[in-house]
């Protein structure tokens, strides 16, 4: 077993990990990065479509282009890189945190680190998570796996495809598969509205005349060896109307039914998890409930835009660097999700600085009112043209905006 002593270990070399590691190096910290794949860039590398970087760079980049904007500097930043390596355990030792990783190249390595940045991203919800009935043939896979097979391995997963879920991943995949010669028979969405952006409905489905069945569910998968068909039924009051069920012959079913922050490692390290996001509870320093462990990106909460992952990772790294320097920590005000808010990040604000909050709505609503209050007293409000659960709401809170909240009182964020 190799032992290394280092300021910070960044777990994950995707968009969050790269931005955080670069920022930590800029602040003078020694950094080790552990990445599972044999190359850096994470999930961006399989997102070959454009639409990334409009906020960050003012350009319309593809996923690999966005990733290389960070990979190139990261290679020359003096980051200790462990690729094709998996962190198996985060524990405690005399210096702070111990991180154990395995890789073919170095065997077992154990870091003694004073800070750990969790940037492992998320995984896809799968068939079991959404309990789709029927047989278990080949040809049922998650959208991300299909995207990987097409865009990295160069394989065509099927010929006739039904996509379950109309989030942006599902829509982009519908177009992508059409372009490699598949026929996308339908996109089936359980909600009565599409989860993805109208822009993607237009350029991914409408451009190719792909049918979208809103308010429908796949009730059954058929086929013994390979998928032969799915049965689809409209929903009424949350139950499928079996009388109006219809059958779509297909050989492939792709599931784009949501993402879950991947926190098994965090949980095992004793990091408290926030029910609303399924990611760690974090304060305004992006520090989790476990001292010295920070989190950013999709492991913390699932983002819609990589640009905001980058922004969040930098802020996380800045605070981790301050922690490493021993800066005094500010007294924080807890933040809680109020009416119609499913989740909020971070879970505490620092009144002396600017705070950026990210939240998700529980409801679909036009002309909503974002309302901040403390102890029943309204602090400020903001009009939002449209809110829906699949779109993250981001807003900044200037330094001093919440200065006068009594200690012990929480800042409550609600949507009306």
């Amino acid at each position: 077993m190799i032992r290394r002593t280092i300021d910070a270990v960044v777990v994950g070399g995707g968009s969050a990990g790269l931005a955080a590691a670069l920022r930590l190096r800029e602040a003078g910290a020694t950094v080790a990065m552990v990445e599972r794949e044999p190359f850096l860039g994470g999930i961006l590398l399989q997102c070959i479509h454009s639409g990334f970087g409009l906020q960050e760079f003012g350009e319309d980049l593809t996923g690999p282009e966005y990733a290389e904007r960070f990979i190139r500097p990261a290679l020359n930043a003096g980051i200790e890189m462990y690729l094709d390596a998996t962190v198996t355990e985060i524990g405690e030792d005399a210096t702070g945190r111990s991180v154990t990783a395995l890789s073919r190249a170095v065997g077992v390595v154990r870091f003694s680190a004073r800070a750990v940045v969790l940037a492992m991203g998320c995984r896809e919800r799968n068939r079991g998570n959404v309990a789709i009935a029927g047989t278990r043939p080949a040809g049922v896979l998650t959208a991300g796996l299909a995207q990987r097979l097409v865009n990295i391995e160069g394989c065509v997963p099927g010929k006739n495809v039904v996509i379950v879920g109309s989030g942006d991943i599902g829509l982009i995949l519908a177009r992508r598969l059409t372009l490699v010669g598949c026929t996308v028979r339908a996109v089936v969405e359980i909600q009565s509205y599409p989860s993805g952006s109208v822009r993607n409905i237009a350029q991914c489905l409408n451009d190719y005349s792909i049918p979208l069945h809103l308010g429908h569910v796949v009730t059954r998968i058929e086929g013994r060896d390979r998928v032969e068909a799915v049965r689809v039924a409209p929903l009424q009051d949350g139950r499928p109307l079996t009388g109006r069920e219809f059958r779509i012959p297909c050989d492939t079913v792709l599931l784009s039914v949501g993402l879950i922050p991947e926190n098994e490692l965090s949980r095992a390290a004793g990091v408290p998890i926030n029910e609303g996001t399924a990611g760690p509870w974090v304060d305004a320093d992006m520090m989790t409930g476990a001292r010295g462990i920070f989190a950013c990106g999709n492991v913390l909460h699932v983002h819609d835009l990589v640009d905001f992952v980058t922004e969040e990772a930098r802020r996380c790294a800045d605070r981790a660097a301050a922690y490493l320097k021993g800066d005094p920590r500010e007294e924080m005000i807890p933040v809680k999700a109020g009416a119609n808010v499913r989740s909020i990040v971070p879970n505490a604000c620092a009144p002396g600085r600017r705070n950026v909050l990210y939240l998700r709505s529980l409801v679909v609503k036009n002309d909503a009112l974002l309302e901040l209050s403390a102890g029943g007293e309204k602090l400020r409000t903001k009009r939002l043209a449209h809110v829906q659960p699949s779109e993250m709401i981001r807003f900044g809170l200037e330094a001093g905006a919440i200065q006068n909240i009594n200690s012990g009182t929480a800042l409550e964020v609600a949507l009306r």
């Binding site: 599972r36 094709d84 395995l102 077992v108 896809e124 029927g134 796996l145 391995e153 098994e264």
Partner: protein, 452 residues
């Protein structure tokens, strides 16, 4: 001796969907054959595990009763167990039951405790048996579907769907769901195997309130009821249901049964949550009228042993079934002499996840692939996957059952392409020929740039 298997790998039939319980011998009437074989089989597992190293633990079984009425059935189970010869079964009151199994609902009134019950990974057990058999001279033919048989010159000649032939003096019909068809093929007894479907749901490792023992309800007429089973690898299994009338390929799961299983299971263990479901599957029990095993020399055809209707507790009874088949073969006139060089033990498989980091160095020094994790959810290394492939398990399901790669919470989302690449590297097969469970279940259907 030759083992003929229709599927492309062993354990792909009834065994793969087994609940993985080593039963304790109190569920069946002393008059049944299965009760006797269950007890004998149960006792054999410690020795078998020592030889074969499959995952198995005697965690004990509890039966939870929720009413005085149900306690009457528990009394009956207890008496049955004692008469069958089940070891150390006891009737327990509410407090002792809750101490034995703290995950149980506070509403229990009492129940039964059978410490000799246990949990096992069924496919690992089957693979280990197949390896031990092969190491001792058994020829294994997978993907070999018997379609015809005739007797000539004191031997059976069996023909496969692909036209291959196999000749043998004696034949054992252990064809599970198709034992009836195989019996007919040999012109032997006419009977019908009725598939009884059982749907099961798997909860992730680290789910809320996993039990430490196998929890049974007080049994219903056709089955032992919906159980909550802590699997030997740390997940929780809920099920099975028991539905008759489907066909022999019907392994579909239904939302209604999911609801039913959850309703029953959460009555016993209230803390389980649907959010922890990572997968579901269905298995088919091969049942005969009367629900007992049929293990006998055929009276209608020469030199044929029938092993049919092996449903629950078939896995538990399997070592005793084997002994019985051996005795039948000898009584039928087959001369069997124990081999002098018989070596039942098989080499232990190393698993990265079983070693503490400081213990791994030696393993990694031998093969660095032990430090390369392929399946993150189950902690399976490249070395383990490669070992499975080199032993002939080249389908995704075969590798999954052999190593657990792809069996965890992401259900292959992250490791499928890695495993496909390893299969391609080790076998030279192109990616589009790699299957989930045999021909027809190819995983990808072409390449970008292929001519249409």
């Amino acid at each position: 001796m030759a083992l003929l298997e229709r599927c492309v790998d062993v354990s792909f039939g009834v065994s793969k969907a087994n609940s993985g319980i080593i039963h304790a011998g109190f569920h069946h009437s002393p008059s049944s054959l299965k009760a006797r074989l269950e007890i004998e089989g149960n006792r054999a597992f410690d020795g078998l595990q020592a030889e074969l190293g499959f995952p198995f633990r005697r965690v004990g079984i509890v039966v939870a009763a929720f009413s005085v009425e149900e306690m009457k059935t528990v009394d009956h189970l207890y008496e049955q167990g004692v008469e069958n010869g089940a070891r150390d079964v006891e009737i327990v009151g509410r407090d002792r039951l809750l101490a034995l199994e703290p995950a149980l609902s506070r509403d229990v009134v009492g129940g039964l405790f059978a410490p000799s019950g246990g949990i096992i990974e069924p496919y690992r057990f089957v693979f280990a048996l197949a390896e031990s058999a092969a190491a001792n001279g058994v020829f294994l033919f997978t993907g070999w579907e018997a379609v015809r048989a005739h007797r000539q010159n004191d031997a059976w000649h069996i023909t496969s769907a692909a036209g291959e032939d196999c000749a043998a003096r004696w034949v054992v019909n252990a064809a599970g769901l198709r034992a009836d068809a195989v019996s007919a093929m040999f012109g032997a007894e006419r009977f019908t195997i009725v598939p009884r479907k059982g749907e099961e749901f798997i909860l992730d490792k680290g789910s809320a309130g996993p039990p430490s023992r196998v929890i049974f309800p007080v049994p219903a007429r056709t089955s032992k009821g919906v159980l909550v089973i802590p699997t030997v690898e740390g997940t929780v299994m809920l099920g099975p249901t028991a539905d008759e009338g489907g066909d022999k390929d019907d392994t579909t799961t239904t939302p209604e049964n999911l609801e039913r299983v959850f309703r029953f299971a959460s009555q016993m263990v209230p803390r389980i949550s649907k959010r922890d479901i990572i997968t579901s599957f269905a298995g088919l029990r091969p049942t005969l009228p009367g629900d007992d095993f049929m293990i006998e020399l055929s009276r209608a055809a020469p030199c044929l042993v029938q092993v049919a209707g092996i449903q629950s507790p078939g896995l538990t009874a399997s070592p005793a079934i084997a002994e019985r088949v051996k005795a039948l073969l000898m009584s039928g006139g087959l001369e069997l002499v124990e081999k002098a060089d018989w070596q039942p033990g098989i080499p232990r498989m190393h698993r990265t996840r079983d070693h503490a980091p400081w213990e791994l160095d030696q393993l990694v020094a031998r093969d660095p692939a032990y430090a390369h994790l392929v399946c993150r959810c189950e902690g399976v290394s490249e070395a383990e996957v490669v070992e499975a492939i080199r032993k002939g398990h080249t389908t995704l399901d075969g590798i999954k059952y052999y190593t657990r790669a792809g069996m965890g919470r992401c259900q292959g989302g992250f490791c499928t392409y890695r495993i496909m690449r390893l299969v391609a590297r080790e076998t030279g097969m192109p990616l589009e020929r790699i299957t989930k469970h045999g021909p027809g279940s190819e995983l990808v259907l072409g390449h970008i740039g292929d001519r249409p």
